[in-house]
Assembly symmetry: none
Homo-oligomer: 225 residues x 4
Amino acid sequence: MGIFERKEREKAERRSLIMSCAKALILEYGVEKVSMGDIAKKAELSKGTLYLYFPSKDVLFKDICDEAAAKFSEYVESRLKESMSGLEALKQYWISYLELYGESDDIFLLFNMRHFLAPDGSFISVEDTTWSASYVFYYLIKKMIEQGVDEGLFEKDIEPGLIVRAIIGLFSQAVENAAKLPRTERKPDLVIDELKTVFQIMLRGIAREGIDRSLLVLPNKKTDE
Amino acid sequence: MGIFERKEREKAERRSLIMSCAKALILEYGVEKVSMGDIAKKAELSKGTLYLYFPSKDVLFKDICDEAAAKFSEYVESRLKESMSGLEALKQYWISYLELYGESDDIFLLFNMRHFLAPDGSFISVEDTTWSASYVFYYLIKKMIEQGVDEGLFEKDIEPGLIVRAIIGLFSQAVENAAKLPRTERKPDLVIDELKTVFQIMLRGIAREGIDRSLLVLPNKKTDE
Amino acid sequence: MGIFERKEREKAERRSLIMSCAKALILEYGVEKVSMGDIAKKAELSKGTLYLYFPSKDVLFKDICDEAAAKFSEYVESRLKESMSGLEALKQYWISYLELYGESDDIFLLFNMRHFLAPDGSFISVEDTTWSASYVFYYLIKKMIEQGVDEGLFEKDIEPGLIVRAIIGLFSQAVENAAKLPRTERKPDLVIDELKTVFQIMLRGIAREGIDRSLLVLPNKKTDE
Amino acid sequence: MGIFERKEREKAERRSLIMSCAKALILEYGVEKVSMGDIAKKAELSKGTLYLYFPSKDVLFKDICDEAAAKFSEYVESRLKESMSGLEALKQYWISYLELYGESDDIFLLFNMRHFLAPDGSFISVEDTTWSASYVFYYLIKKMIEQGVDEGLFEKDIEPGLIVRAIIGLFSQAVENAAKLPRTERKPDLVIDELKTVFQIMLRGIAREGIDRSLLVLPNKKTDE
DNA sequence: TATGAATGAGTGTTCATTCAT
DNA sequence: AATGAATGAACACTCATTCAT
């Protein structure tokens, strides 16, 4: 009975090895430039073996994307509390982003690969099958905004879905642009600053008239409130 | 004396034919997927002929992009008046967008191809050489926003460059996502609505506190003042 | 009656223009790198026009080669006198070579293009149809050597044809190698020196035993005897 | 334990198959005319497969050349003895040439491909990096000649390097010209005879005055000394 | 006669995918 | 399960030659 489990575990490990090698290469060279051969070499496996774990390059890349999305979702969700207001949740989302951005490259992949993997219009409808994990992610933010609306912080007539898509889009862009630079030239702080500013502008833009803007200021690393 | 002109015209027409076939294919399948062979087939020309009009694929694509950008720039600029306030100019920009969006696909391409042509981080710096016509375009909006700041409409501490990049980014996304849909499923009105909403939110977000939001409402097709 | 002649003359001039443009390009870039398009551009003619004067690229190149050979042959022949001994004739050949080498590039082409144009073994048999002018050229030297044999200067049992081919081959190589260098780096004097040395060695090698080697020394620019 | 070796052997065989197909085509049609497609077809492999064994056309051709040069060098070197005089060594070189010429086509390629691989003037300087194996080959002969000079057989004032280049050049030509003929019409004996004569003439030409020419006669197949 | 736009087979090279082992 | 050799279609680009004008 132990043998089967070990096999399963080893299989999962291989799968995971392939994915992490692929991720490393994508981050180094960009999605378009990475070939199955490159991944195989990096993973010290044969090209054929890759196809034992993933039916195609597209699926491999999609899975990477999903995993990153799931990881981020979990990260955020684990830090949310029932008692939080919509705004607090959004701020926590931002902090999670900041933290994960510093810690791991997954956040990069999550947004960087969107164009490769979402060929059917995520701006118009993220609600589709290919996003799977991202789906959860999308709803997470959407719920925060809806809660904000309920709590009277945001305008009643906004479409939360649309806002989420815009936000995700802006985040994606920041990452993509950063990713296009040679790794050494990336200035994470600059990207983060820009993102923060734009995020804040979005929040202000959807806030009810008369809301005190100082409430909408995003924290820098830890909520200092 | 007419013969030379006719030849010139025919040449220009072929050039234009190639460009429009390329555009159609790009809109249908995305920049990355379109090959010179595809374009040749669509234009019912030989591959070799393409190279009579464009020295390389890159130049062809760049020309398409420049043309679209130039067209839009001109369109907007021709409708701007010295006397306009920053806000009025921005509204006029929006109207031009609306009108051109209905008329031609160029606006699609303009944004859709950004990734192909600006491989060095336009979010961080749109100010690069490869954008040429887009360069003008970028500064156009930037000036409008700066004027708005001067006129006391927008917050003094915003970075206009950053805002422009965010706006351009959002527009690009909308277009890209629309472009990814099978042509038949595209709902232009939906895209326009989304865009309008997001644009308005951005404007609200950068507006000085206390500014009457009804001033920032974008027109639907004609300025209703 | 003048009209026909003028036309003929103009035709010949065009032909000649094309050839000289082609020659210039061959000398600059090497035979393999020159295309019909390049030649047309240099001659300020259309590609089509080239085909009015030459049925194919091969023929054009062959004609260039023949012309150069003819020119050299004439040059040498015009300087030969009935009264000359075989050795004197050979020395005169060498002088002609030297002089033409300094004056014009034809000598370059003559040998440089051999490989392009003589795909049927000139070492084994120069006596073939494609060489035409070179044919004369070949026999010229052959006769000199034969005369040298008759005069008791060279060994009786040598095969003059073979010797000629070897000599031509060595000259060709020198030119080819010089031609491969960027024009600026060519050191004509070096090539000439090498050639002279090798030519002398060949003469010594075929001279009868006991012949005074000082007789076989080639002049430097003018026979100083 | 045999499986790895078999794989290796098969791999080497394929590599060798590709090389020999390429060689056959080069000999049949000339270096310039042979494309990767041709080679693939001849080897009954796909074009892609060729790139499994050689990273580029240039490398494939260079490898062929190197191999031929190495083979010949080895062949000659293995037959040389410390005790040999310069002249004996040169005769042994000639015998090796004769023997290998009869046995394999490599000798053909060695010289035939010179133009492809030494684009920077081997007559002027064979001493360049691209020759690799040929480099050894060149120095081999040079040393023989230098030894001959030391032993008082050859003139003191000759430049051995120049002589080697001339000799190599003549050998190349013989091969090239032979190669240009349709295979059926090649008369190896004729070529060999011509070459022998020319080689002997060169030797006589550099021999000190008064040296007995009968010493310089090259053997026909076996040293008859 | 002269043009030059058009052709189309050709070049070397890459890579996702398959399959016999 | 794992391999990696083999494939073949795809890529951007070139150029000698033709032909309607």
